[in-house]
Structure formats: structure tokens, C-alpha cells
């Protein structure tokens, strides 16, 4: 029986692995997701069949309620709100891990069992990681949803306090290990871990949230794996490790693409002074060419190759459908249209890809930074749609906040049209010399309405 259950969990884990393998191409990705969810079904059914379940009502209520909430979330969420959604789901996963570990401790105490040392060590670990993941994810959600201020909240002695808190948590953790029967210790541990989660995410700027979410995602995997050590379940360990690895890799990719260290993201309070940097700093005395939609349409309509470079502003304006329409019209006129996707354009990895996919843009028209950069020299018009940092040429010179970050070389193309609402800087809070380049024309206004105007004007030609 137990052997059969173990085999079934192994099968589930294998399905997860095969599912993730299929995510290596958009053509097979969807079936991969189904494989993985089938693996999850097997794991659940196995547990229901062999897990020694006695009281069914609780279980059925839990499953029905949870599934209903999850399905509603999945159905209602806007594509532009994906980062928040992932944060929230992640928080629930972490919370569940912490709850399971706590319940296991209570159950063992009730049953009067002696808690072996390895379990006594892994329980507080699992509770700690799970609780931090929960509260951290909720704050990240709040920041992205703008329920909590997106600014990096800083206060004096912040790091010292967090360090102190962490030391205290370690102490309480050891207390739980030594005296597992104390529910007080467990309670303090949970409370302190929740506070730690909040306090570590609060000082991080809203725009850095994706890195945080990805890291928390990794934590929730590690939390699941730790729970696996608690209840000696290989399935949990394998799946947790997979998720842990996935989160770490994505975190690493984002940090590299921003040319910042993880420590800088977590403790650098990037974006604390965002407001201070706003405003037309350094603009005086330099010329900015502002054009109308009519001028822009003219440039686009008679170009041979046009490259669209979307950024976070595309998500804010939700202009993806209009952009696609503009591309169709241009293609109808014989203009070649490509999309240049910077690895950290937007606010989470692959953000632009998802938005453009929603607007039915075929994925083979999207080009990675390394593929498209050599093409800019033969590009007639680059259209920067709500992007800023990812096209900022000051990244090439040392001494800037962006120094060393690879960028899209739009300034190599013959003409650049920039669609944004103002001269305000982007996420990094620094000015963009591109806007003062003689090749550049600014088309001010919300991206959605600007693109709509361009469509009208191109049609009118």
C-alpha cells in the first residue's frame, strides 16, 4: 500500500518534470501545463486513497471552496495584473506549507508521540519559510495592486531592526526545536516570521516586486520541500526542489538583466527617492522634438522596416490590441514589422510576451534583445511604446544607475518615435538622453490613444 502510494507520488513528480520540459517551446507549453496539473490530480487522489483520511466533510469543503476561489481568480484577473496574481497565489502556497507543518506538530503532540529530532528541526524551518512567504507575498501583492505604497519605505535603523528580528526568530526556532510541546513558542515563531516577511518586503520599491515575487516563489518551493522532509514524502521534496530551482533561476535572470545584485534589490531601497527624481531635471537648454500623430503616421507608412519596442507603459495603457492593429495595417501596406522584447521590459519576466500574445501577435514576430540588436542599423523607424529604461543609452556609459545593463539599440535606427505621457523618467528614475537625440520624435500622450491616433492617420493616408 505505502509502496503503491510512493510509486504514485513518483509518477506525479515525473509528470511535473515532463510538464516543465514541455514549457521549453510555446508550441508544447500548453500540453505541458496540462501534464503537470494531471500530475497534481494523481497526487491528490493518491493522498485521498492511501492517506488514512477519516473525516471527509472538512476535506470536501476545503477542496470545493479552494478550487472555487482559485478558479474565480484565474478567470477574473486582467492580463496586465498577472504579477499581482502570481504574488497572491504564491502567498497562499507558502501559507499552506506553514499551516501543514504547524498542524503536524499539534497532531503529534495530541497523539502523545515523541517528536524525533529531524522532525523537530524541519517543522520550525517549514513554519518560518512558509510564513515569511505568505506575508511577504501579500505585501508584494498590495504594492503591485497599489493598496500599499509602491515606494520603498525606509526608516532609521531599518536594517539593524530586521537583523535583530531575524536573530530573535532563530532563537525562537531553537526554542521550538528543544521544546516542541510549547505551542506558545510556535505561536511566537509564526507571528515573528509574518512580521519579518512584511518588514523585508516593505523597503523594496514597487518596481522591484517581480524579483521579490520570484524569490518568494522559490521560497514557497523550498517550504514545500521542507514540509516533505517533515512528513517523509518524496513527492513533496521533488516538486518543492523543482519550484525552488525555477524561482532561483528567474530571480537570477532578472537581476542579471538589470545589472544589479540580488542584495542590491533586497536591501538597496531602490526607488525610495523616486518622487525626488521626477520632474524635468536636466531638460533645460536641450531641445526635444514633439510631433503629432499625423507626422508619425507619415514616417511609419513609408518605412520598409519598423520595430516596435514595448515597455511597462504598454501594460499601464493596455495598448496591446491597438499596437497589433497598427502593425496589421502597416503590414497591409507592405511595411515589415518586428517586435523587440527586452528581457526586463515591463514588470516581470516575459511580461510583454504575455500581453502581446493576448492581442494575438504571433510569437515568432517577437525578437529577443540579442536577435534584434543587429537589425536596428537597417531599421527605418523604431517605435518605443511606453518603454524607457530598456532603451536608455546612458546604460552604455559608466557612472549611471543603469550602467552595464544591456539595452535595445534603438538609437542605431534611422528614426525613433517615443510614445509616452511626459518627460518623466521610468522605473530607474533617471533621465534618458535618447529623448534628446536629433533622430528622436516624442509623441506625447497615453500610449493607447496615441496608437489609436496613429492608426487613424495611417488609414487616412
Amino acid at each position: 500500500m505505502a509502496g503503491l502510494a510512493k510509486l504514485a507520488y513518483l509518477l506525479a513528480a515525473v509528470l511535473f518534470i515532463l510538464g516543465l520540459k514541455r514549457l521549453s517551446s510555446p508550441a508544447t507549453a500548453r500540453s505541458g501545463n496540462w501534464l503537470a496539473s494531471f500530475g497534481m490530480l494523481i497526487a491528490i487522489v493518491t493522498t485521498l486513497a492511501f492517506g488514512g483520511i477519516l473525516t471527509w466533510p472538512m476535506i470536501i469543503i476545503g477542496i470545493v471552496v479552494g478550487s472555487a476561489i482559485g478558479a474565480t481568480f484565474a478567470r477574473m484577473v486582467e492580463m496586465t495584473a498577472m504579477p499581482q496574481m502570481v504574488a497572491l497565489l504564491n502567498g497562499f502556497g507558502g501559507g499552506a506549507s506553514a499551516l501543514v507543518a504547524s498542524a503536524e506538530l499539534l497532531r503529534s503532540l495530541q497523539a502523545g508521540a515523541i517528536i524525533p529530532l529531524n522532525v523537530a528541526v524541519t517543522i520550525p524551518l517549514s513554519v518560518l519559510i512558509g510564513s515569511v512567504t505568505f506575508s511577504g507575498s501579500v505585501i508584494a501583492f498590495g504594492k503591485l495592486q497599489e493598496l500599499v505604497t509602491g515606494r520603498a519605505v525606509t526608516y532609521p535603523l531599518q536594517k539593524s531592526f530586521n537583523g535583530f528580528l531575524f536573530a530573535g526568530i532563530l532563537a525562537v526556532g531553537i526554542w521550538v526545536v528543544l521544546q516542541p510541546s510549547s505551542t506558545l513558542a510556535l505561536g511566537i515563531l509564526v507571528a515573528a516570521a509574518l512580521v519579518l516577511g512584511i518588514l523585508s518586503v516593505i523597503p523594496i520599491g514597487g518596481a522591484d516586486m517581480p524579483v521579490v515575487i520570484s524569490l518568494l516563489n522559490s521560497y514557497s518551493g523550498i517550504a514545500a520541500a521542507t514540509t516533505g522532509f517533515v512528513i517523509s514524502n518524496e513527492g513533496l521534496i521533488i516538486s518543492g526542489a523543482l519550484v525552488g530551482a525555477s524561482g532561483l533561476i528567474l530571480t537570477n535572470i532578472m537581476c542579471k538583466a538589470m545589472n544589479r545584485s540580488l542584495a542590491n534589490v533586497l536591501f538597496g531601497a531602490f526607488g525610495a527617492h523616486a518622487t525626488a527624481a521626477l520632474g524635468p531635471v536636466g531638460i533645460e537648454g536641450r531641445g526635444v522634438r514633439s510631433i503629432t500623430a499625423e507626422d508619425g503616421a507619415m514616417m511609419l507608412a513609408y518605412a520598409r522596416l519598423v520595430v516596435f519596442c514595448p515597455g511597462y507603459g504598454l501594460a499601464v495603457a493596455q495598448a496591446q490590441h491597438e499596437v497589433r492593429e497598427l502593425a496589421d495595417i502597416l503590414e497591409g501596406r507592405g511595411v515589415e514589422v518586428k517586435y523587440a522584447i527586452h528581457p526586463v521590459a515591463g514588470r516581470m519576466p516575459g511580461h510583454m510576451n504575455v500581453l502581446l500574445a493576448e492581442a494575438d501577435v504571433p510569437y515568432d514576430k517577437l525578437y529577443d534583445m540579442d536577435e534584434i540588436n543587429p537589425e536596428f542599423s537597417r531599421t527605418d523607424v523604431s517605435v518605443v511604446i511606453g518603454a524607457n529604461d530598456v532603451v536608455n543609452p546612458s546604460a552604455r556609459t559608466p557612472g549611471s544607475e543603469l550602467s552595464g545593463m544591456p539595452i535595445l539599440d534603438v538609437d542605431k535606427s534611422d528614426n525613433v518615435i517615443v510614445l509616452k505621457r511626459s518627460m518623466r523618467p521610468g522605473f530607474a528614475g533617471i533621465d534618458n538622453p535618447l529623448f534628446f537625440d536629433p533622430k528622436t520624435s516624442m509623441l506625447f500622450g497615453d500610449a493607447k490613444s496615441s496608437v489609436k491616433n496613429l492608426i487613424e492617420e495611417v488609414k487616412a493616408l
Binding site: 510555446p26 497526487a43 476545503g62 506549507s97 499551516l99 501543514v100 504547524s102 497523539a111 517550504a223 514576430k365
Partner: protein, 98 residues
């Protein structure tokens, strides 16, 4: 006991290797679905939650277990469905399809 722990550690280490190898092959295009999909997989704690909620040995444990089941199911169902919603949108250029 220690031996059993090391046995589980072996599995953890190997799974980490598999994870790294498999995930590094996912192209940037699919990083958002990867995040939500792997997130759904981390909802595997559901199996622990079910046991806690269902064994009914302790009232407190059952209640914590119930909440855990709800949380984990939100994570699992929400994660897989939202990933599918995203992936459904990805398509190759029709003209180039054979």
C-alpha cells in the same frame, strides 16, 4: 533516522539538478507562464494539507489542515488555470503554419 534524512537529501539534490537543467531551457517568452505554472506545482503541499485535515486526530490540527487545504487548492487551481489562460494565447503566425 539520520540515514533516512540523507536519503531524502539525495532526492532533494537530484531534483534540484533536474530543476536547473529543465528550467534553464525555458525561453524568456514563457517566463511569466513558467512563474505561474511552477507556482501551481508548489501547491503540492496540498497532499500534506489533506492528511492534516482528514485524519481527525486533533481538532486544532484539523482546523489548521482545513485552512491549509483551502489555501493550497487556491494556489493549485488558480495557478494551473491562469497559466493555461496565458498559454492559450500564444500562437505561431498562421501564415507560416503548415
Amino acid at each position: 533516522m539520520i540515514e533516512e534524512l540523507v536519503g531524502l537529501l539525495v532526492i532533494f539534490v537530484l531534483a534540484m539538478f533536474v530543476g536547473f537543467e529543465v528550467i534553464t531551457k525555458v525561453p524568456p517568452t514563457l517566463h511569466t507562464p513558467l512563474m505561474s505554472g511552477s507556482n501551481a506545482i508548489s501547491g503540492i503541499t496540498i497532499i500534506g494539507a489533506l492528511v492534516m485535515a482528514g485524519r481527525g486526530q486533533s481538532r486544532a490540527a484539523s482546523i489548521l489542515g482545513l485552512v491549509a487545504v483551502v489555501f493550497a487548492m487556491i494556489n493549485v487551481v488558480g495557478g494551473f488555470l491562469v497559466t493555461d489562460r496565458m498559454l492559450r494565447m500564444f500562437r505561431r503566425d498562421k501564415k507560416e503554419q503548415r
